[in-house]
Amino acid sequence: MFLRILKTTWAWIDSRLGISAVIVPMTTHRVPPDARWWYVFGSATLAAFLLQVVTGVLLAFSYVPSSGDAYAALQYLSHDAPFGRFLRGLHYFGASAMVLMVGVHALQVFLFGAYKFPRELNWITGVLLLGLTLGMGFTGQILRWDQTAVWSVVVGAEQAGRAPLAGEWIARLILGGGNIGGMTLSRFFALHVFVLPALIMGLVGAHLPLVLRNGISEPPKPGAPVDPTAYRQDYAALLEKTGRPFWPDAAWRDVVFAAGMVVVVVLCAFLLGPPELGNPPDPSIIHADPRPDWYLLWYFAVLALLPPATENVFIVFAPLAAGVALLVLPLLFPRGERHFSRRPWAVASVLTLLIMVGALWRAGGDSDWSPDFTAQPIPQKVVASTDPLVQHGAQLFFSKACIHCHAIEGNGGRRGPDLTDVSDRLTQEQITIRILNGATNMPAFGDILKPDEMKALTAFLESRRRYVTSGQQASGPTTPEGK
């Protein structure tokens, strides 16, 4: 009796929604059988996005998008609200997972040549989604409205300001006026919560039907180039012969992988927690050390390491050129070999990209180019001299700010060369000339140091040699001159 009611109810709903007629055939469409674990990253990206939507909506329940009040609301959310810290952690690690997954998905599709005919638009909508995901990352970091967020907006505006002609307008559009202020946070909130998610949902709404329409690409085989005139028939024949229903034959792997990803995100959120809030978003607090979250850290390194002469061109046109190159890729190469063993340039460009971004990541993490303002005076043990001149020189090394950029036995910054054993490398004249005249990245101290200070400082540096310094291991790592 009960079962019959259930059955008729289901039949009533199904006849109206068309689940058996439309949805079921969609989920059981035939896919190539040997796709396996390489094909899980797209669905994992979608799963991460759904997680972001849910946690984002929950965060919005407590968030106050007001430049003056957001910080207090975030403090409450992070420290007092039930589950607040956990939620922030989920949203942060969910974002990390989404960036990671969308990146791996793009690399996999590229390496498998799956962007070629007839899936050009799958790739193009995917590239736009990749860009939007990074945009969500940047705007989301801004919504963590602390001092770092404020200076990130300024740095973003300054970068946009390098654009020719419209630069200053774009910068003002980003800031919401001439300075950080009441307008600033509201626009990042609107972007992060309405504009970008709407665009993402719209594009996902195009990306997924495209996957259904053009089919999941069959894993590439060497010596089987894509020929647009024959591809669709060949693909249909392949599915006819060996295809399996997507649900559940292939989909179970997507579910297993996505579930594993969610578990990792939950564990990270619970054990590590969200990034701590920094100082309040007060632009008059002068001591700031803004740096982006990990997914943009490599770009932070690019900005630091660019030769100044190329900066204007690079800051504006490099991201533009990279975006355009990705967008037109399938239009330029819609046919030909798909297997990576026949596409040496594709493999080389992926390796180059990974090595470059990896190296920049490391560099961004170390950020040697940032002066170390926390450096303390050189300890007596390291000075290791009773000569009053050397002692005075060691003090000057600290007070005249040498130490912010130069280290001696690990004391000091790493922007300039390590000076632990400088007089093994340079004569006294060379040291003196360098201090007086400076270099590209070092100010000239000729006008700053008095003659007796100069004498003391060079005496101190003169005493920095491998075997005469303190008893412990004296030679620190040296960096090349004039970096």
């Binding site: 430049s67 003056g68 009040d69 910080y71 404020v150 200076w151 300024v154 740095v155 505006a157 300054e158 970068q159 300001g161 390098r162 630069g167 307008w169 910068a171 003002r172 559009l173 006026g177 001439g178 300075n179 950080i180 202020g181 009441g182 307008m183 600033t184 946070l185 309040p280 978003p281 007060d282 632009p283 008059s284 607090i285 002068i286 001591h287 700031a288 050390d289 803004p290 900005l303 630091a304 100044p308 900066e311 180019w369 940032s370 002066p371 303002f373 007070s399 005249k400 700010a401 912010h404 950029c405 400076g438 590209t440 990245n441 070092m442 100010p443 000239a444 101290f445 006008d447 700053i448």
Partner: protein, 162 residues
């Protein structure tokens, strides 16, 4: 032109597209206007007092805090701004914007070395704001300063875009 081509169906198609376009155009006026008009507005500048003349020592460079030109009621601490102020002599003051001209980070004054240094990418400026080393393309921007009724006043300005 063949008159018989304009059928009832063509007419309805045309009028539907036309009406949709017209209403979209109508709505786009406030949409585009609200985005663009503020960009063409002159940014306000006001004089802000940062302290009594006697509170500044000749030859010293110190940070001063003031409010931006037109803080919105909900701006809170984000309406604050800072500058580096040096009293050159009895009557003359110089005020530098705190923003590094490389990418806008706030520069720090190192009094003994008489240098401004940027924490982000290591730009260095002399005590007069000239570029001494590192990536900055130009000298630190300066605020106008005046003394009125014994108060040092700074003219607010926008973040200098390099």
């Amino acid at each position: 032109m063949k008159l018989e081509k304009i059928t009832r169906r063509r007419f309805l198609t045309g009028i539907s597209f036309g009406l949709a376009a017209a209403s979209a155009a109508l709505v786009s006026v406030p949409v585009i206007g609200s985005i663009l008009v503020p960009l063409f507005r002159r940014l306000p500048e006001v004089w802000r007092s940062v302290g009594h003349v006697d509170s500044f020592e000749v030859g010293k460079t110190v940070p001063v805090v003031f409010q931006n030109a037109d803080p919105l009621p909900w701006a809170g601490v984000t309406a604050n701004n800072a500058a580096w102020l040096r009293r050159v002599n009895e009557t003359e003051f110089i005020a530098f914007a705190i923003n590094c001209m490389h990418l806008g980070c706030p520069v720090t004054w190192l009094p003994d070395a008489e240098l401004f240094m940027c924490p982000c990418h290591g730009g260095v400026y002399t005590k007069d704001g000239e570029v001494a080393a590192g990536p900055p393309p130009k000298a630190l921007a300066r605020h106008q300063v005046r003394v009125r009724n014994g108060e040092v006043e700074i003219l607010t300005m926008s973040i200098p875009i390099a």
